[in-house]
Every structure is written in structure tokens, then in C-alpha cells.
């Protein structure tokens, strides 16, 4: 029983040495240097039975001396349970699972044939993170250094604490800017017998390794708890934060058990001009869905068998890449093993996106793996009209249907994003007509 008590889940706390406590794992976004979602975090949760491998993305751009991460963990982690990962893997996972635009090109209605579809754009996220300085053991505060490792470019300490005041003082004296509310949150984790994982950058090791960026930290642990702590990251947070969770499981889709999990609207036809501003569209659509769901919901953006995709925003992860992310049940072959009796591979990905603050998400996120292997993707469709000049009966009816189609696309876009329908019509060059003008 004691072991079960100790095997509580992993909590991540990140502090800036400056004056703010960051998000769970803060990050900046997107392709073409566009910032898509601010104050967001990216984590990969590999989970099967009670075993979990957690990867935290990190593209911290500041002075490495200022970087530090504090992670409450279920028990003292051995050296082999900590690993430094490859950021490219997360980028690949992000690209593979990102919401996507699909383009179709209308064929000549006079000579109909197959339509083509291509991926027009994907909205990726992108990693980023954290910072802070280093500590020393102070027994009088009830804080003990349980273990100390240098792994990759990080110096890592495992701390235990008897009470939150002592830990808070210890961290403050060690240079961490702890906001006042953190102590109360720390206390509940200390009462559950958790240890604290503290990592900072070892500048000499970093110079020796030659990395100019900080690589993701991975930890492996065994615990019945399948959850992500978000409470610590909300202490003194200014406004809502974003979290992207890529869950890799053997059975099927992952969902939250203590909050509603809903799928984002998908499959709509949108005006073609959205291609130029897909990130802005996606951000507006997500904002709108958060509003409609009173910011109390976890959104599923992607749920798919890792063995394939259709259409593919990026190629599926290889067995080797998944192995590096911590998918430990693969068996070492070059190809993904198939599920016994049911087809498909034995790795299923769920991409969850949640915007949270303390008022709407008072408790940590708890997840469960379901038996649901229904594929789902955030997919938005552009249909390019045929612009030929041929004339036939089919072409005439095709052209007359285009105006109605454009109007429906405009309404879809307005519904999804909350954008002004008049502005959308203006962008689409839709000429407003009276209802009776469309009769004859």
C-alpha cells in the first residue's frame, strides 16, 4: 500500500529565474515564425499498463544559465529512468498529428474524372520552455538531496521535503522565484509522499556536447496514476494557458476522466482564401470552441492508428522514432507490430489540446485509455472551383451552384470562428443577392 501511495503521478513545475512562473512547459509556436498559441506546453505521454514515459519539449531560447525545471515525481528516480530526448521527434509527432487543410480541385464538369486532394497546410505547435538556477542541501529545512546526476547537458537533483515551507525556503535560497501560492500547492504533493526532480543546465557539458538548444527531458516511471498536473503551473499565471498532450497507447484513444473530452469540429468546406491564413483560422476556431464550451473542455484534435494516415500531414512515426519517444512495447523490429486479430498497428496516438486556468480547471488532469480505435482528425477542406471556359449543360449547372457553395463556405467559416460574415463575404467577393434573385 505504501508503494501505491508513493506511486503518485508526475507533476511538472517550471520556474523562471526572473519574476514569473511559467506554464506547465511554456512554448511558442508554429511554422513561418508565426506564434499560434502563447503560454503553451507540449508533452508526450507514452502509457501502457501502469508504465509511463513522459517527454517534455523544450526550445528555450534564453540564457541557459537561467534555465531550471522542478518536477515533483512519485519516487526517487534512478539514473536510468531519466533520459535526454531528441527535439526532432516531437516536431515530427506535432506535424503528423496537426490539424490540416485539404485541397480539392474541381474537375471540368463537362468531362468529369477523379478529383485530387492534397494537404494544403498543417498547424503545428513547436516546443519551448523554462529556466532557473541551482541549489544546495539544507537539512535544517527538512529538504534532502536524495540523488544527483549529470545527464546530457543537465545537472539533475532528486529532492525530498518534509513540509512545503522548508522546500519553498530551500528553493528561494537557491535562487528560484517562488510565487506565494506555490507553497500551498506543493504541500499537497509533499503530503502524498512525492519527491522533487530539479534540473538545470550544466554549461560545461552543454559546450562539450555542442548543442545550442536544450533537448527534451524524458522520465520513465511506474504508477497507477495516469494524469498530468496542471495546478502548479497555474499559480500566479496571468491568463489561460495551453497544453498539448500527445498520448501514445497500445489499446486506443485517451480521454480525460474528470473533464469533458470533445472532438473539435472537422470536415467543413471553407473559403479558399483560408489557405493563406490557416494558423489564424485555426486559432480563431479554437477560441470559439473554447468559448462555446465555457472553457471546461479538453479537445481531441487527432486520434489515429500510428501505422498510417489519410491524408498525411507528415509521414507516420517509424518504429525507431517511437522507441526513442519511449514506446516500450514495440519489440525492436523495424516495422510497427500489428495488433493481434484486429488489424492496425499496436500504437495509437491521441492529440489533446486544452486551454485552462484555475477557475475552470481546479484539479489536475486525469486520463484513461479507452478501447476506442475510431480514427479522427481535425481536417478542413478547400475546394477550388473549376475555371475553364467550356460550355455544356453540366458546366452551366455547375457554375450556377458555385454561388450557393461559396455562401455555405462563408457561413461555415463564420460559425466556426465567430468572424463577421460580411467581412468573409467581402474577402470572397461574394455579391449579396436578394433571395428572389436566386429563384429563376
Amino acid at each position: 500500500m505504501k508503494r501505491l501511495l508513493a506511486l503518485t503521478s508526475l507533476v511538472v513545475l517550471i520556474w523562471w529565474s526572473a519574476d514569473t512562473l511559467s506554464a506547465f512547459c511554456g512554448f511558442y509556436v508554429c511554422k513561418a515564425d508565426t506564434r499560434l498559441f502563447n503560454k503553451a506546453s507540449q508533452v508526450v505521454l507514452v502509457r501502457d499498463d501502469d508504465k509511463t514515459v513522459l517527454t517534455m519539449a523544450n526550445d528555450f531560447k534564453g540564457d541557459p544559465k537561467e534555465f531550471a525545471i522542478v518536477i515533483p515525481v512519485p519516487a526517487v528516480l534512478e539514473r536510468g529512468q531519466i533520459h535526454i530526448g531528441d527535439k526532432a521527434l516531437l516536431d515530427h509527432l506535432d506535424a503528423y498529428s496537426a490539424p490540416r487543410l485539404v485541397e480539392y480541385f474541381d474537375e471540368n464538369p463537362c468531362t468529369p474524372s477523379r478529383t485530387r486532394d492534397t494537404i494544403a497546410a498543417g498547424v503545428g505547435v513547436g516546443g519551448a520552455l523554462l529556466k532557473a538556477p541551482a541549489p544546495r542541501s539544507l537539512d535544517t529545512l527538512g529538504v534532502r538531496i536524495e540523488a544527483s546526476y549529470t545527464i546530457g547537458e543537465y545537472d539533475i537533483l532528486i529532492l525530498s521535503a518534509q513540509e512545503s515551507g522548508g522546500l519553498e525556503t530551500w528553493l528561494r535560497r537557491s535562487g528560484y522565484q517562488i510565487p506565494s501560492g506555490a507553497s500551498a500547492v506543493l504541500a499537497s504533493y509533499i503530503r502524498q509522499g512525492m519527491k522533487f526532480f530539479v534540473a538545470r543546465v550544466n554549461l560545461k557539458e552543454q559546450a562539450k556536447l555542442g548543442f545550442t538548444f536544450l533537448r527534451p527531458i524524458q522520465v520513465a516511471y511506474e504508477s497507477p496514476k495516469f494524469m498530468l498536473p496542471i495546478r502548479l503551473g497555474m499559480v500566479n499565471a496571468a491568463g489561460p494557458q495551453e497544453l498539448f498532450v500527445y498520448a501514445l497507447t497500445r489499446r486506443g484513444r485517451v480521454e480525460a476522466t474528470n473533464y469533458r473530452t470533445v472532438k473539435l469540429p472537422t470536415g467543413m468546406d471553407l473559403p479558399v482564401y483560408v489557405k493563406q491564413e490557416f494558423p489564424a483560422f485555426y486559432r480563431a476556431m479554437f477560441d470559439q470552441q473554447v468559448r462555446l464550451n465555457r472553457m471546461e473542455t479538453v479537445f481531441t484534435e487527432y486520434a489515429w492508428d500510428m501505422g498510417w494516415c489519410d491524408p498525411c500531414a507528415a509521414e507516420p512515426m517509424s518504429a525507431s522514432e517511437l522507441g526513442q519517444l519511449g514506446v516500450f512495447w514495440l519489440g525492436g523490429g523495424a516495422a510497427l507490430p500489428q495488433r493481434a486479430g484486429s488489424g492496425g498497428s499496436n500504437v495509437f496516438i491521441t492529440r489533446l489540446h486544452v486551454r485552462y486556468d484555475a477557475a475552470h480547471f481546479p484539479e489536475d488532469l486525469v486520463f484513461q485509455q479507452t478501447a476506442d480505435r475510431t480514427n479522427f482528425q481535425g481536417r478542413y477542406v478547400l475546394r477550388h472551383p473549376w475555371t475553364g471556359t467550356e460550355s455544356c449543360d453540366a458546366a452551366a449547372s455547375y457554375r450556377s451552384a458555385l454561388a450557393m457553395r461559396a455562401e455555405l463556405e462563408a457561413q461555415s467559416l463564420a460559425d466556426l470562428t465567430g468572424w463577421n460574415i460580411t467581412d468573409i463575404r467581402g474577402r470572397m467577393n461574394i455579391v449579396a443577392t436578394k433571395w428572389w434573385q436566386r429563384i429563376w
Binding site: 503518485t8 476522466t257 470533445v262 471546461e296 484539479e363
Partner: protein, 291 residues
């Protein structure tokens, strides 16, 4: 016209509330439940009820079967129609097979969910599917049911709600968590469904009031243990299934009068038999009928 002194059968109210909740969940909350699956569950449950009643030589009463079927529609998630149909078959069949001293041993919906989750890889329950948006609406609807039907087994509902709430709040207080956390845990539609429609099943609760209080407290305690110590989901379902075998024991230690569903024709016609009153086949013995 409702005869004087008769009570409305609480099952009718339950059927109405469950059907409304299902419609709300499917239409407003985007439940992962297909109309075809609901149809399969309802048809199978009613069919199995009819078949079992014929085999047992008793009058067919679809009300309890309808409640079990609607509960399964609300809770059971699967991608396989045959699994949904099998769940309905096992649920209704368990009422006829798993009995001790004339009472069901397990709540049919509860035992089938636990069995299928434990033994198959095709079923799940989504406790987070309700969110907390409509929580107070649920609460009012469910409490209204107790008032309208004057349900005599409301005590087990209140006892469980009190015990479980106290434990959840006490744990958070011990950990120094803000009250928003236990409040969020208690504002859960799945908890409401369990409290008002599952643990309160008169067929599977102890006969005496003292026994019901003890039973409710044990179920709450075991649920907290499963949720906060073993960290497993669906703790309420597991807890009720684990504790159900205690009911026959509690009935021996703390005996009480056996429950039977009231009927709109609750008062026997002069010269009539009690059998005609029974809402279910368990009320064939006069001593089983609540008057």
C-alpha cells in the same frame, strides 16, 4: 385515475428522467453513442426480459428492464454492436440468475459494466462525459424524482451522498487543497447517475434502514479507496460491484421488510390477489408487497 393511497411507481419517473438524460447527452453533450447502439440495447433488453419471464413462468414487466437498458445506453461505450447487445443480455439475465434469497445480488447495469471492462478489450465508460455544466439541472431532476415518487429507498441515496461527499472533502482538507477541488469532483453527472439510479436500486440494497446506511457508507469508503489509493477510474462502479455481496449478509445481521415496487393499483381490490399488484415477479409473496 390513481387510486387513493397509491404511489406512482418510481420506475416510471426514472424511465422518463433517464430517457431525457440520454437525449440531452446525445444532442447537447455529443456523447459517443450511436442511435443504432441504443436501439440494439433496448431491443435486446426487452426481448431477454420477455424470454426470461416466459421461461420463469411469470408476468412480463418491462419497466425494470427498460431502466437497465437506458442506464446501459448512458454509460456503456463500445464500437461493437454485438457487445452492446451482449451487455443487455447479461444485465437482464443476471437478474434472473444471480439471486440470493429472492433478491438480485448485483445491480444489473453495474455488474455488466464491471464484467465487460474487466474481461474484454472492447468496452469503456466515460465518467467525464457529463462535464459540470448541467449539474444542477441533473440534481433538481433527480431530487424531484424522490419527491414525486416518495421513494422509500431515498435513504440510501442520501446516506451515500453524505458519506462520499464527507470523504472527498476530508481528503482534500487533509491535503490542503482548495475547496474548488472537492466541489469539482462532486459536481459530476456520473456521480449523480450512480447516486440516484444505481446504488438506490431497491432490489440490491439491504432491507433494513440501518443496513442501508451501513451499506452506503461502505460503498463510499471503498469507492474513495479505489479512486484515491488505487488510482483507478470508475471507482463507483467497482465499489458497488465489490460491496454488493455484503447485502445478503447485512440482511441477516440487520433484517428488515423486503421491498416491492408500488403500483398504480397498489391497493388490492376486494378479493383480489397481491400478485396482481406486483410491479415485478418478486412480489408474488404477500409479505413482499409494500402496502
Amino acid at each position: 385515475m390513481i387510486p387513493r393511497g397509491a404511489r406512482l411507481d418510481p420506475r416510471l419517473y426514472q424511465i422518463a428522467v433517464l430517457a431525457l438524460l440520454l437525449a440531452y447527452g446525445a444532442l447537447a453533450l455529443d456523447f459517443d453513442v450511436r442511435p443504432l447502439q441504443c436501439g440494439a440495447i433496448l431491443a435486446t433488453a426487452l426481448g431477454v426480459q420477455l424470454a426470461c419471464a416466459r421461461v420463469a413462468g411469470i408476468r412480463n414487466d418491462p419497466r425494470s428492464a427498460l431502466i437497465s437498458a437506458l442506464s446501459l445506453c448512458l454509460l456503456l461505450r463500445t464500437n461493437d454492436l454485438w457487445v452492446a447487445a451482449a451487455a443487455a443480455t447479461i444485465a437482464i439475465g443476471s437478474k434472473f440468475v444471480l439471486r440470493v434469497r429472492g433478491k438480485h445480488l448485483f445491480n444489473p447495469t453495474n455488474i455488466v459494466l464491471v464484467l465487460l471492462i474487466a474481461c474484454t478489450d472492447r468496452v469503456w465508460v466515460s465518467p467525464g462525459q457529463w462535464g459540470s455544466a448541467a449539474y444542477f439541472g441533473f440534481l433538481v431532476a433527480c431530487l424531484g424524482g424522490l419527491v414525486v415518487t416518495r421513494a422509500s429507498r431515498a435513504d440510501v441515496t442520501f446516506a451515500f451522498a453524505a458519506a462520499y461527499s464527507a470523504l472527498v472533502v476530508a481528503r482534500s482538507s487533509w491535503l490542503g487543497e482548495p475547496m474548488a477541488i472537492p466541489v469539482h469532483r462532486l459536481e459530476n453527472g456520473a456521480l449523480i447517475i450512480f447516486t440516484f439510479f444505481m446504488i438506490s436500486d431497491p432490489r440490491t440494497t439491504p432491507d433494513s434502514r440501518a443496513g442501508r446506511f451501513v451499506f452506503a457508507a461502505i460503498v463510499a469508503l471503498v469507492a474513495c479507496y479505489i479512486q484515491f489509493r488505487l488510482y483507478r477510474t470508475n471507482a463507483l462502479l467497482w465499489s458497488l460491484a465489490c460491496c454488493a455481496p455484503l447485502v445478503p449478509l447485512l440482511d441477516v445481521v440487520l433484517p428488515g421488510r423486503r421491498y416491492a415496487w408500488p403500483s398504480l393499483t397498489a391497493a388490492p381490490a376486494p378479493g383480489g390477489s397481491y400478485e396482481a399488484l406486483a410491479g415485478s415477479h418478486f412480489a408474488r409473496r404477500p409479505d413482499l408487497v409494500v402496502r
